[in-house]
Amino acid sequence: MSRSQNVELTKEGRIATIALNRPDKLNAINDALLEELMQAFRRIETMPEIQVVVVKGKGRCFSVGQDLSGVNTSEVMPPDPRTKPYESEIFEMARRRFHRLRSILDFPRFTIAQVHGYCLGIGCELAICCQSIIAAEDAVFGDPSIRMGLAPANPLWTWRVGLKKAKELLLTGQYIDGREAERIGLVMTAVSLKELENKVQLEALSKLQLGTIGGFDMQVTWGQFHQAAFETTGLSAAWRLSSCLHSLSAIQRPGRSFIDRGGFNFYKIREEKGLKAALKERDEPFEPYFPTPRPKTGHSKRRS
């Protein structure tokens, strides 16, 4: 039923499935994919028969995060600071980014992220904005933004795993596997990859069957209370500020006050040696200190 290429929307009974569909790029999220993703959510909102939405990735993983190729990514990635972007531009982008992800968290259906393989950066943001995450034990979660000089843009992490763990993950950019994610409360359940699909279906069906008296109305109303609880603890205020701080970090020109990695400049290395080399140089120095768990199922190649 889907006309778009990068996102596949399917319906089965009262369950809708949004599948990120750029498997050759490990579902890296570029502007086109992002737009189609938001369209898919908007379409589901007009379908009263749909009560549960499953979000997943096609191919080897959920999503490696922002597409870092620099092509068709002006909405998912802040501009290269060397291009001297206008502040207004990047703060407008911060605002759009906040509203977009906030609306996914506020989506008026029960949302489940079905995660296997890499789930990084903005891909991970998408997952934590779902009501629930069910993951394969060897899935890999994380946000390496800080390694490119970017502050995290999404404070929801702190609500999901607590301040100490959020800092441990986001200040170091380290990756954790599905089992550890379950232990710290990021993920509801971690199961073997074989069981993943079934577990998610079971969870989706149980959401459909529970509370059939109040049914869908009850679910939507409960969702509003749920969101209000977030708001009274200041989530949106924090989110707006974090988005702006993310933008602020993006206009920081690399090179100043670096000490050890003397001016690691992702954009420059990508330009000179290509994306793969830039990613390698971004992550390799941290490997001895924060070893990356490798998904057994996926491929060792990573794009974000």
Partner: protein, 282 residues
């Protein structure tokens, strides 16, 4: 670095190592140590050569908390209800105390507390104000302040572990073991005693490879979540409550820590303080 007596401050490989250094007093925090910590944080924050700060304790413990001896402790301890200080003076002191924890919490560099042994009272506030808290399994986290009529003034605790657990900790004064503290999100990690050094050095070496500006902004972005939940206001409110607590009238059957200390000496006074809670502490 610096001309310090109660702490040691060294910079190695762009990492600032701070050691609380009153081992014979289990690194009890007195005014001198506070002043030196204040001074060090300001220096370190501005120092472009320092990417990350580690705070640890010399000897058997991280810190047993506020120095309760009453000598050189006007700043670290709230004044006794017996004192005739003006309300303004007491409020000022309380504000200074809460601002200090807020400042350390928001220092524009990542900070790590490396904790072993006792980590109580103000020692625990210091360890929790750091961004990451890594402990060995022998560490104990708690705040016995209420047992001697001092109001705990570290509201961040409730945001870290939730209101229920914070109440249990503060109202009982019973410390948590490192494993318990890890489970409830008070600290990042509890590791075997012999692995503490290695764990912390792995972490700081990794951190020290990152961009200082990005780290500063990222830390701020994460602390924003606490600010949005009102931790700043809670800090101010707690220091007002501390003022009220200081103004209370001591009843004849109240446990009067200071009187006890002056009569029996510090050690016996602490024992008298904790004795009624023996069953609880077991």
């Amino acid at each position: 670095m610096g001309n310090y007596k109660s702490i040691i401050y060294e910079i190695k490989d762009n990492i600032g190592w701070v050691t609380l250094n009153r081992p014979e007093k289990l690194n009890a925090i007195n005014d001198e140590m506070l002043r030196e910590l204040d001074d060090m944080f300001v220096l370190a924050e501005q120092d472009l050569d320092v990417k990350v700060l580690v705070i640890k304790g010399a000897g058997r413990a991280f810190s047993s908390g506020q120095d309760l001896s009453g000598v050189g402790t006007d700043e670290v301890l709230p004044p006794s209800p017996h004192s005739k200080l003006s309300s303004k003076a007491v409020l000022e002191a309380a504000r200074r105390r809460s601002r200090r924890w807020e400042y350390i919490f928001n220092v524009c560099k990542p900070t790590i507390a490396q904790v072993h042994g006792h980590c109580l009272g103000a020692g625990m506030y210091l360890a929790l104000s750091c961004d990451l808290t890594i402990a060995s399994e022998d560490a104990l986290f708690g705040d016995p302040s209420l047992r001697m009529g001092i109001l705990p003034d570290f509201p961040l605790l409730s945001w870290l572990v939730g209101v229920k657990r914070a109440s249990a900790m503060l109202l009982s004064g019973k410390p948590l073991t490192a494993k318990e503290a890890e489970r409830c999100g008070l600290i990042n990690k509890a590791v075997r005693n012999d692995q503490l050094d290695a764990e912390v050095s792995r972490l700081v070496k990794g951190l020290s490879l990152l961009h200082s500006d990005a780290l500063a902004v990222a830390k701020d972005s994460l602390n924003v979540a606490m600010e949005a939940r009102g931790v700043g206001a809670a800090w101010r409110y707690t220091s007002d409550m501390e003022l009220l607590m200081q103004r209370r009238t001591i009843q004849s059957d109240d446990f009067d820590f200071e009187e006890m200390r002056d009569k029996l000496g510090l050690k016996d006074a602490i024992q008298a303080r904790d004795n009624p809670f023996k069953d609880l502490d077991r």
